[in-house]
Amino acid sequence: MIARRKRRLAAALLIVFTTWPLVHYQLVRVYRLDPWKFGGWAMYTVVNFLPRVEVFAMRGGERQQLGLGSHDLPASRAASEQLVFDAKFYGELADPEPLARIAASEVGGDVAIEVVITRFFVDRSSARVSATRRSFFYEPPR
């Protein structure tokens, strides 16, 4: 009786183990999760380049890039590194809002913030480096 229960348990674990990589493949396709991670056995399938994160402050119609590498905006720099990390692993699920909020508070004043995430990938048909850019706009609180 115990052996039967164990057999069922083992089979159930094998079913979960077999199903997850298919779910993983869909998550990678839809949300651009890092295929190397999350236990889907898709390591060594796709090169996952580091994304690039840029932050712009928009004041009175002018768009100015914030130098996240400088020491003037240490909290923004740390948040930007976190966003690069998140975007690499969690793909489209990475949330740029914390970076925008920190950047807005560090820059000060009535500014809108734009966060741009650029993802590099190798285009399958041309085999050349290609990129997608996504912009996120955050209006200053009124």
Partner: protein, 303 residues
């Protein structure tokens, strides 16, 4: 006298029994000695991995790493008392789960595999021969499914048919350029290495070198075929023998020596007889050598 009614089995149970039979050995064989040796090698593998820091250490303080290594060492010591062996495995599972919680999302797939193996050892157990048969068959199933998916994912992502992925690895990682320098012309290697990955339009990141394309296709075809050959009894020995040089070949490019040890430990599960008990000292010497290398050359690219 009343005859006891035979245990009623549902269709699901019949199907499960058939699956277990596919992955099992001859009914007379005893899986328990090899499972004991397998467990011991796995615990030593985990201890060596954690103690030498062969994992992404971004969010793990050295003190915590040493604490987890000490827990695993305690589990290893406890394992030698047979009635506490399962408790020791459960302890190792908790330690590894804690480590992967800290490391997440950088957790490598081999770490997920280790967690699955530990979970099976804890939940299924090997206190009777029948349990041992179920455990061995399930472990074999895990290995076969994992290998199959590594091949299937490569096929689905479509970067191996024209050697795109391997060309990108040559572009990015010197060790891949070294390995494939044998089969890719030198000027082609140089061309790939001078490409800039963050420059849109750079490329083409693929090579016409016939041997590279052949090697690239062999990789996923091998991974798709080997699980079937491992599970089919007549080809099991040949498949294990084929898997060993494949594992060694991976080490030249990926340099994942700890995973190499784990994969050999898993591959030997398919050998029709107990090789684990005989090879135990070889495994121990291998992990001792790896640990010594990691401590002596902490900057060496060896995971």
């Amino acid at each position: 006298m009343t005859a006891t009614a035979p245990e009623r089995r549902s269709r699901v149970d019949v199907a499960i029994d058939r699956l277990i039979a596919i992955a099992s050995d001859e009914p007379t064989s005893d899986p328990l000695p090899r499972l004991r040796a397998f467990e011991l090698i796995l615990l030593v593998h985990l201890l060596a991995t954690v103690a030498t820091g062969a994992f992404p250490r971004t969010h793990v303080e050295p003190g915590l790493q040493m604490f987890l290594a000490a827990v695993l060492g305690g589990c290893l010591a406890l394992w030698f008392t047979p009635r506490f062996a399962r408790l020791a495995i459960a302890g190792a599972f908790c330690a590894m789960l804690g480590l992967q919680y800290l490391v997440f999302p950088q957790t490598g797939n081999h770490s997920f595999l280790e967690l699955w193996l530990l979970l099976l050892l804890v939940l299924v157990g090997r206190s009777t021969r029948d349990e041992g048969v179920v455990l061995l068959a399930t472990l074999r199933g895990i290995v076969a499914i994992m290998l199959f998916y590594t091949g299937l994912q490569k096929l689905l992502h479509g970067t191996y048919v024209d050697a795109q992925f391997l060309s990108a690895q040559i572009m990015l990682k010197p060790q891949f350029a070294e390995v494939f320098g044998w089969i890719v012309p030198a000027d082609e290697i140089t061309r790939l290495q001078t490409l800039q990955w963050d420059r849109v339009g750079a490329g083409p990141i693929r090579s016409d070198a016939p041997l590279l394309i052949l090697a690239s296709n062999v990789v996923y075809l091998f991974e798709l075929a080997i699980p079937l050959l491992l599970l089919w009894r007549p080809t099991r020995r040949a498949a294990v023998i084929a898997l060993l040089p494949f594992t060694i070949a991976i080490q030249f490019g990926a340099r994942e020596a700890f995973f190499g040890g784990l994969l050999v430990n898993l591959a030997l599960l398919f050998w029709p007889r107990d090789l684990h008990s005989r090879a135990l000292w070889i495994f121990l010497a291998y992990y001792a050598a790896l640990a010594t290398l990691r401590f002596a050359l902490p900057d060496a690219v060896l995971r």
